[in-house]
Amino acid sequence: MKIFLTRLNACGFFAAAGFWSLVALYLIALCADLLIPYPYDLQMRDRAFHPPIRIHIMEKGQVRIPFVYQSTLIDPVGKKYQEDTSQRYPIRLFAQGVERKMFGFWKTDRYLFGVSEPAGIHLLGTDMYGRDIFSRIVCGGRISLSISLIGVILSFSFGMLTGGISGYFGGVIDQIMMRATEILMVFPSFYLMLSLRAIFPLSLSSVQIYLLIVVILSFIGWAGLARIIRGMVLSIREEEYVLAARSVGVSHWRILFFHILPNTFSYAITAVTLAVPGYIVGEAALSLLGIGIQEPYPSWGNILASTVGNLRILSDAPWMLLPGLAIFFVLVNFNLLGDALRSVFDPKNW
């Protein structure tokens, strides 16, 4: 781990920045419940399409604890809000709010930060039901980031297993596997994703949908890796240490799992890192089209969903596009980290 970090730092500022940003993002997603100012599904109908709140620190030339004003709806049709500057609502730590269950079991009415009613602290605005976008993005990150990670791990374990078996044993298994991957790769993956989704009913429970997306994404993803791992195993199989292991009586499976496959790890880890963006986009795309994660559960894709084909929402409430920025940020970091890993694992750079 220490060697890894030194090498990563040697790859330059951006590589390290990518790595640490991802660590931070996953930590945020992990303790999402601690950070949000409102439950992600709390509807405040009187505050629909509230723009991102302005946080003030000055009043009448005096510096104050950061505070917000209460804003009132002055135009219910055009969703225009006006600040009522008669009273300040300072931002409090561990503020009291609606009671909720943190992490699913811990009942509490405290939030890391907040303001007292009737003011609201909507850092990134609210959606059409008056739900806090900031809370939804933070909680949505939990789903978007975990789906992509689980999906990638699943498809890569399967890809390495099938690629390894078919490269090491060859013969009929190899033929069948390779024809299967060929057929899978002939379909444009987006079309395949949609038609695989069509096999299952459109309305499922949220857990079922979560699992379904994981399975669909990994089903599409494993073929490419299996083919590359197969190629690598084909050449590693001929190495002399494999022959040596064989001559002292090591079994085929042990050779495959302990002598050959570990040699493909450095490639696989890089490939995993560069594959995660595809899974994140895949989940977001399914949710964006309304056939992925369903309301009221937030995911980065389904927050964006309400803007698709709805010019009014798009032009009146552009802050609804912010989850896209979150996706972009994660993708940049994964690409930076993937490129860095490629040069870390490249023997030419040692």
């Binding site: 024809r179 060929e182 057929i183 899978l184 002939v186 379909f187 444009p188 993956s189 987006f190 079309y191 395949l192 949609l194 038609s195 695989l196 989704r197 069509a198 096999i199 299952f200 009913p201 459109l202 963006p277 986009v281 977001a284 795309a285 964006l288 089209l289 309304g290 056939i291 964006l304 803007t307 698709v308 084909g309 010019l311 798009l314 032009s315 552009p318 596009l321 896209g324 920025l325 996706i327 972009f328 993708l331 940049v332 994964f334 690409n335 930076l336």
Partner: protein
């Protein structure tokens, strides 16, 4: 050369067959008998249903059904769409034209920008302009196409420079051919630019790396030693060799463009294959899903074939072997 193409085409047959089998079984696995659903629909006459049942042999076992479907596929009949009440082939023909023009436009644009930029950045490796264009490539690779499309729709809605959605404006149905073309092109601009932007990044990186590799080869040093003029070394020797891997990419590109285009089409409301496919999935319009899947696969295979042919045209070593 002709024999090589013929050989490739023959090799494709089992893949196509396997593909159709896979598509068929994906559809068979879908729940619900769609004929019972159709029977509930007063718009569809019982005659249509019995005709379709006969045509596709749907009262027979699954294996026979597949053969019927294959026979219809070979005759160019992909069945009838339940929700549009039109033959799937008619539906796909219109949508395919839109998707292909979108894909062609964005492909031309992205290649015309990415290749020269790649050569330029590769020639001046590690210079400021190289770093800047690499940073731009990062931006382009990491940008989710649907997000960029939404952003562009937002900007377009604020400025009204370019139209959003559809393929033509409402008012000029009777306009001349040229103004109709211009109108179509204007509508194509938004999805086309978005798709081109997200496509440039990885093409640029590939081209740059290929060029750097080709430029470092001994034959380039030989060319310098001969005293050839610089443009000739760059374009005739380095560029032409760096281009070879790109032709393989061109083949794969068609597939990735279909994927990318689908999402952008849906978000920008461009009536192409992507939105057709989504509609089909949402309304469980099974023959339409199957037809789109097959057409998508065929396009991908065709793309690979074109890539191979171009590679053969550019590289005499492959032609001879």
């Amino acid at each position: 050369m002709k024999r090589l193409i013929a050989k490739r085409l023959i090799h494709l047959l089992p893949v196509l067959l396997g593909m159709s089998l896979a598509a068929f079984f994906i559809i068979q696995a879908a729940p619900g008998d769609f004929f019972s659903q159709m029977a509930l629909n007063p718009e569809i006459s019982p005659e249509t249903i019995s005709l379709m049942k006969q045509e596709f042999g749907l009262d027979k076992p699954v294996a026979v059904q597949y053969l019927y479907w294959l026979k219809n596929l070979a005759l160019g009949n992909l069945g009838i769409s339940f929700s549009y009440h039109l033959p799937v082939t008619t539906l796909i023909r219109f949508r395919l034209l839109n998707t292909l023009s979108l894909a062609f436009f964005s492909m031309m644009l992205s290649w015309l920008i990415a290749l020269p930029l790649g050569v330029f950045a590769g020639y001046r490796e590690r210079s400021i302009s190289d770093r800047l264009s690499s940073a731009f490539a990062y931006l382009s690779i990491s940008m989710p196409s649907f997000f960029l499309a939404l952003l562009c729709v937002y900007l377009a809605s604020k400025t009204t420079f370019i139209p959003i959605g559809g393929t033509r404006s409402v008012f000029d149905i009777d306009a001349g051919l040229w103004s109709r073309f211009v109108d179509y092109f204007k509508h194509l601009l938004l999805p086309g630019l978005v798709l081109a932007f997200v496509n440039i990044g990885w093409l640029f990186r590939l081209m740059r790396n290929n060029f750097i590799e080709a430029y470092g080869s001994p034959y380039i040093r030989a060319a310098w030693a001969k005293g050839l003029p610089v443009p000739q070394i760059i374009f005739r020797h380095a560029f032409k060799n760096a281009l070879n891997p790109m032709f393989t990419i061109l083949g794969l590109e068609i597939g990735s463009l279909l994927n990318g285009a689908a999402l952008v089409e849906i978000v920008t409301n461009w009536p192409g294959m992507g939105s057709l496919m989504l509609d089909a999935v949402l309304s469980q319009d099974l023959y339409l899903v199957m037809g789109s899947l097959i057409i998508g696969g065929v396009l991908l295979i065709a793309g690979n074939l074109i890539g191979d042919l171009l590679l053969m045209a550019n590289d005499p070593r492959i032609r001879l072997s």
